[in-house]
């Protein structure tokens, strides 16, 4: 199938992706080299391919790449600071042992960032609601909840 160029702003930088009409945003990003976007099911069930699309949480296997034309895409690498320092959410995940195999982590971190944008001081219930679209088989989620609370405190301090 013939490919066409689409323009997106990827982690703050304008880029052009060459895609077939049937290519999902997930596969397009991965082909471009953004491998933090993981393919766990390609059916919209597991959340490992989560990105922020124009600031909103989106499973990238559930949109076609052509739908992202002209839009902003943020992936987990895009959260890093200018010198590669971890975002407070990423840092909190490391400190609380909220990572095991790490395959769900990039998507989970983005879901947590999105949640904390909406609820800077979340309750356990809000955390569970906000992260319910992202599966994790390793941690039992307990440490992830601890990490999100810690990230909330770290972000508050930074403000």
């Amino acid at each position: 199938m013939p490919k066409q160029p689409i323009n997106v702003v990827l982690n703050g930088k304008p880029v052009t992706l060459e895609v077939e009409p049937r290519t999902t945003l997930l596969r397009a990003l991965r082909e471009f080299g953004v491998t933090s976007v993981k393919r766990g099911c390609e059916e919209g069930e597991c959340g490992t391919c989560t990105v922020l699309l124009d600031g909103k949480l989106q499973k990238s296997c559930m949109v076609l790449a052509v739908e992202a034309e002209g839009r902003k895409v943020v992936t987990s690498e895009g959260l890093l600071g200018p010198d590669g320092e971890l975002h407070p959410v990423q840092k909190a995940f490391v400190e609380e042992g909220a990572i095991q195999c790490g395959f769900c982590t990039p998507g989970m971190v983005l879901a947590a960032v999105d949640l904390l944008n909406r609820h800077p001081d979340p309750t356990d219930e809000q955390i569970k609601e906000g992260l319910s679209g992202n599966l994790c088989r390793c941690t039992g989620y307990v440490s992830i909840i601890r990490a999100v609370h810690k990230a909330a405190a770290m972000l508050k301090e930074r403000r």
Partner: protein, 805 residues
């Protein structure tokens, strides 16, 4: 005297290796490796029927898809593979034996072309009657899944029964059970069953294989737990020299046993070794649906236990019959059957034992290793029936357990004396923390509340001579590299190894790095399974690090002309206080020291360590007896507090407390992570997981919509994880494994709590809403036992059941 000082050695809370990369998303898993335009992609066309002879396979339409390079059929790649029993071909040869079995491999320039080509492969079959029921097929030999069983190679401790569907039969014969039953005041006989369940790791299987056309060297990049086992299985299956196969394992996205042994590598090799393909790397990434359909599962089982108990509540005899549904292949699954068998009296002392543990072939996806390896299955039965027995004899279930507990010195069912452990103390804590013996009002109006206890036990299940080796390199900048071919798939072993090396070398953990496995660079390790790595590989890492330390100290002693005993390595600085010396480890560690005699001594510091368990003896194939059948056991207990919504059958967990005797927590952050994670995985399995098939053997639960695993909303309100430390005698730091154990007992604990809440015993896992709702209805009519058969093909089973009861 200890000659090292560190702040983050054994037992310290330190953060985990590779977590920064994981959080950033920059760590590359197998699917993230890039091979350029050379790379070809493979996709399997799969059987649509459960049992049949292949009449023809038409690949002509597939070959017309632009980009398709080759379609490979089973008769072009006839090799039998297996870890313990060579019963698996990567592509169906002549016959298909389950829905989803690969019948052709399409190799193409792009993944999309391979996917399109696979859809266009057309096969014709002559259908044969498929078999699905392990109980029936254990005795009815009219249809055989593997008529060729006699010709399959196998290890001596697996005992297949040619001419039947039994891939393995493990036995224990000790004392006289019939006499024990006669002498018993009470005899309790009950059964429990459970469907197959899926691992649910989030990274699907992926591998890339390449053959060098000039030399025949094979390179395999794969999401595998155990690079050396993968290499050995492939070498044996292909009849290929071991040294010509290189297996590289990048980080893997969860394993839980599902990536142990060999998984999809041989299928990918069918492409990469094809004469028209070889020279180019071929990638096989299977979809989530294919993972569910055609990779390993935890075996389903139907199990019965008969128990004779005297008037004081002492168990006198136990007769166990376990039918494991091993599906189409038992190459790995034969061993959990054995593992359940040789632990078949659980945490209890029983003088008279008779056990038959069978692996039964059926036309379903194949059973294999799964976190717990036969013990969640065994304890899923044992802890239910112990609870039933306690109620039947009118004794408190906690008291009944404690009365029969396998105290240190008493013999396990294989005749091995039990070592020291803190199980009674753990039980006491769990009972107290959850208030097991206290009835409490439900937190939710109108709901029913109940509490349950279940115990856990497990030994590493492995060959007697499963060995490990490690290399510890001290680099010229004072940092350390550990080459230990254990896969850190999330369990945190690399952090534990770094803490061990820190303890032995006096170098901070942040300067120590474990490298992911590659058979070309790493020394041998048997496998990353069995909760053995911190113990067995831990022995090798400790020895290697101590070896490196002794080399460093000896060089400095010569360099400074001081006694070796006066030297200490403190946070990466080598010191001799009496001589007033303190120098950081630097390039001299690599290049050598110019000694007072004017000559250079030393050179790169490389510490080495090896380990093999010295004294394990296989249980006798007839009686199951052995003076030391396994290296050790980790024991523990789970207490759980649940509430049931009578209107919907919904079960919510208020609180769970899980404790294990880990001997020594090397890396507490990871021990806590393993207990929390395994507890939730166990609760998930107990409440919602099961693989179901229609009457033709087609999987009805091929994705995460139909096969539900716990989301963050399904976790208990409170998880309490703790551990005790009764040191293990032969162990790097007294530690024992804990990775799998946390998954063993949450499910039976829930079953016991539901009985406590409803007065109905559910004998069938999982405790799904439908089933619990049914139990609620039964509680209104005074019925006490709910027994479903896990398969749609239940008619066969009902006949078999009649013969039983």
């Amino acid at each position: 005297m200890k000659q090292t000082i560190t702040n983050d050695g054994v037992g310290k809370w330190v953060t985990r290796q590779y977590d920064v990369e994981k959080a950033a998303g920059t760590l590359q898993y197998t699917d993230d490796l890039r091979f350029g335009p050379e790379l070809l992609h493979a996709k399997a066309a799969r059987s649509t029927i459960a049992h049949g002879e292949i009449v023809s396979i038409d690949v002509s339409e597939a070959m017309k898809v632009p980009g398709v390079v080759k379609v490979i059929l089973g008769d072009q790649f006839v090799h039998r593979f297996g870890l313990y029993l060579h019963d698996r071909t990567p592509l169906a040869v002549g016959k298909v034996r389950y829905v989803g079995e690969p019948i052709a491999l399409v190799v193409a320039e792009t993944e999309e072309a391979a996917e399109e080509g696979a859809l266009k492969v057309k096969a014709k079959y002559k259908e044969l009657t498929p078999i699905f029921d392990p109980v029936k097929e254990a005795t009815d030999n009219s249809i055989l899944v593997h008529p060729e069983l006699e010709s399959y190679e196998h290890v001596p401790f697996i005992v297949p029964q040619p001419g039947t569907n039994l891939a393995n039969w493990f036995r224990i014969r000790r004392g006289d059970v019939e006499k024990a039953f006669e002498e018993s005041e009470y005899v309790v006989e009950e059964a429990v069953n459970c469907p197959q369940i899926a691992h649910g790791f989030l990274e699907p299987h992926c591998c890339i294989c390449k053959e060098d056309p000039a030399t025949g060297y094979l390179t395999i990049w794969t999401a595998a737990q155990s690079v050396f086992a993968t290499r050995e299985i492939i070498a044996a299956g292909l009849g290929y020299p071991l040294n010509k196969i290189r297996v590289i394992a990048p980080p893997i996205g969860g394993g839980f046993g599902g990536k142990a042994g060999m998984t999809i590598e041989a299928l990918c090799l069918a492409g990469a070794m094809d004469p028209d393909v070889k020279g180019r790397p071929v990638k096989l990434h299977i979809s989530r649906e294919e993972v569910m359909l055609t990779s390993w599962v935890r075996q389903g089982y139907v199990a019965r236990i008969k128990m004779g108990i005297d008037k004081d509540g002492k168990i006198l005899g136990m007769k166990n019959t376990f039918y494991f549904d091993t599906g189409v292949s038992a190459e790995y699954g034969a061993n959990p059957v054995r593992s359940a068998g040789y632990t078949s009296t659980g945490c209890y002392y029983v003088p008279n034992v008779w056990t038959d543990s069978y692996a039964v072939y059926t036309n379903k996806p194949f059973g294999g290793a799964y976190r717990g390896f036969g013990l969640p299955e065994l304890m899923g039965v044992m802890e239910t029936i112990i609870d039933i027995a306690a109620h039947k004899i009118g004794m408190d279930p906690v008291e009944f357990r404690l009365k029969n507990i396998l105290e240190p010195g008493l013999k396990t069912c294989t005749g091995m004396p039990m070592h020291n452990h803190a199980l009674p103390k753990i039980i006491e804590k769990v009972v107290d923390k959850v208030g097991i013996q206290k009835k409490e009002e439900p937190r939710r109006p109108g709901w029913k509340r109940g509490k349950g206890l279940a115990l856990a036990i497990k030994a590493p299940a492995k060959p007697a001579d499963a060995s490990s080796s490690a290399i510890v390199k001290v680099l010229g900048d004072g940092t350390v590299e550990i080459l230990a071919a254990t896969m850190d798939m999330g369990q945190g072993t690399y952090t534990s190894f770094a803490q061990m090396a820190s303890e032995e070398l006096g170098i901070p953990v942040k300067k120590i790095r474990c490298i992911y496995p590659d058979t070309n660079s790493h020394p041998y390790d048997w496998q990353t399974v069995a909760s053995r790595s911190c113990w067995a590989m831990g022995m090798a890492v400790k020895r290697a690090a101590a070896d490196a330390r002794e080399q460093i100290i000896s060089l400095y002693a010569q360099y400074w002309q001081v006694p070796p005993e006066s030297i200490v390595i403190e946070h990466g600085i080598v010191k001799c206080r009496s001589a007033g010396k303190a120098e950081p480890l630097d390039e001299r560690i690599q290049n050598g020291f110019k000694m007072p005699d004017g000559y250079y001594h030393g050179g790169p510091i490389i510490g080495t360590g090896s380990f093999v368990p010295p004294d394990v003896i296989y249980p006798d194939n007839e009686t199951g007896q052995s003076p030391k059948s396994v290296v050790h056991f980790t024991v523990g207990a789970v207490g759980i507090d649940v509430e049931v919504d009578p209107a919907t059958g919904c079960v919510e967990v208020n609180r769970v407390s899980s404790g294990y005797d880990v001997g020594k927590a090397i890396s507490p952050m990871n021990v806590r992570g393993q207990i929390e994670g395994g507890t939730v995985q166990g609760i998930s399995a107990g409440l919602m997981e099961g693989m179901y098939y229609d009457e033709k053997g087609r999987l009805l639960t091929p994705d995460f919509t139909d096969y539900k695993i716990a989301t963050i909303k399904d976790i208990p309100e409170e998880i309490d994880s703790f551990w005790e430390e009764t040191p293990e005698e032969l162990s790097p730091y007294g530690n024992r494994g804990v990775g799998e154990h946390s998954m063993i007992s949450p499910a039976p604990a829930i079953g016991n709590a539901l009985f406590n809440a409803l007065g109905v015993r559910i004998h069938t896992y999982p405790f799904s809403r439908e089933r619990v709702y049914k139990a609620v209805q039964m509680s209104k009519t005074g019925e006490e036992d709910l027994w479903d058969y896990p398969y749609v093909q239940e008619q066969n089973y009902k006949k078999a059941k009649k013969e039983w009861f």
